[in-house]
Symmetry: C2
Subunit: 222 residues, 2 copies
Amino acid sequence: MNILSHSEENYLKHIYHIAGKERNKVATNSLAERLETKASSITDMLKKLKEKELIEYEKYKGCGLTDLGENIAIQIIRKHRIWETFLVNELNFKWDEVHDIAEQLEHIQSQELIDRIDAFLGFPKFDPHGDPIPNKQGKIEYRELKINLSEAKEDVNYEIVSVNEDSLALLRYLDDNKIGLGSEILILERYDFDNSLKVKIKGKKTINLSEKVTSCIGVRPM
Amino acid sequence: MNILSHSEENYLKHIYHIAGKERNKVATNSLAERLETKASSITDMLKKLKEKELIEYEKYKGCGLTDLGENIAIQIIRKHRIWETFLVNELNFKWDEVHDIAEQLEHIQSQELIDRIDAFLGFPKFDPHGDPIPNKQGKIEYRELKINLSEAKEDVNYEIVSVNEDSLALLRYLDDNKIGLGSEILILERYDFDNSLKVKIKGKKTINLSEKVTSCIGVRPM
DNA sequence: ATTACTTTTTAGGCAAGCCTAAATTTATTT
DNA sequence: AAATAAATTTAGGCTTGCCTAAAAAGTAAT
Ligand SMILES: [Mn+2]
Ligand SMILES: [Mn+2]
Ligand SMILES: [Mn+2]
Ligand SMILES: [Mn+2]
């Protein structure tokens, strides 16, 4: 496999994320939206990635990663999350400051480098946003019992274990309201009208959270 | 100043290095050789860099950095040397393994990142090859009394303080012969025929060094 | 000063990665 | 089923950064 351009690597990574665990077919427009490019540009690149056997693609039918493409995507995600962990744990960046820098660092070409940083950090299992870090072999250990706060039950104590990492505004919002990974959270009330929740963060005041927010928070029963 | 491409940054850096402390005019061909591209490509880029006021350039007369261009070049060199120091000091890479990785890392866009790594390392003054690390303001403190081993005198004890960083073959050669930064070196004999030197490294055997080698080694009297 | 050689620039072209506008295919309504 | 709407692809173009071949300018030798 030849070296891939930053652009090609990004396409693979985003296809992986959009496809999700169920490996759904990825529509041209969903990629265009996520990459903030026009659909016609996506089509161009999909042809190229297919040519390189990194994706499966049929005109008008969407695309999906091949095994090769998926392995590469996972390695990029591994690099992204290890760098984020390094920035937060070692350089004292805040969790909302690291994503953009990691977007650049994830494209540094050196297996040895990322493995040494991994070791330097003590082989962390999760990044600062609670997302699992794939190991060198590409194996990902997902957090067990994790659900979205939006689907959680009342009167059960949960621990916050992850957030949608890419949303800077969300991270700032949570910081501002003293909500973070490890926070203990209890749903006091679910408002059917807009699916918002009144919750109690242990040791803090109660707060109302919109569905937009709760659907981005991963929790696990304690 | 808009963000520069990797390519533009590299041109500035190499112009800086070729021009040297004397800020000599840089010929098109010398850049072409160093960047391993064709002279015509160089001409193209010089026009663009001049347009952006990063270099002074007149047809057939060579080019030189403007203050703006020099500042940017120095910041890239700062990043390169800080990353090399990080790789060697913190991740235990060897001094001959870090240059290529630093060539990539030097283009990461984040003032905050490089300043934090600088702090993390304790604001090192020199990189693993003995080259001075410019500070945040772009000030470079050169090693005093430093001369090339090729110009050093007999019967004076010197300490090795730097090597030409980019030559991988040189670094391997020195490693192989147990010569490194900090080694104490004494010239036993200078052979006029080829300007080679017979030297004694303290605590090691004597060895003959070609002028090619000695001209790449920076030393300081002890 | 003319010739020969070297260096540099110009002209024209190519791949990557994007764009707009138009055409085509697929999906949804009537 | 036909009409309409939405999604996707094609066609043609642009910029960046490179290339080769040819022209022009500068330099050195006769
Ligand atoms: Mn991220
Ligand atoms: Mn993350
Ligand atoms: Mn280097
Ligand atoms: Mn160095």
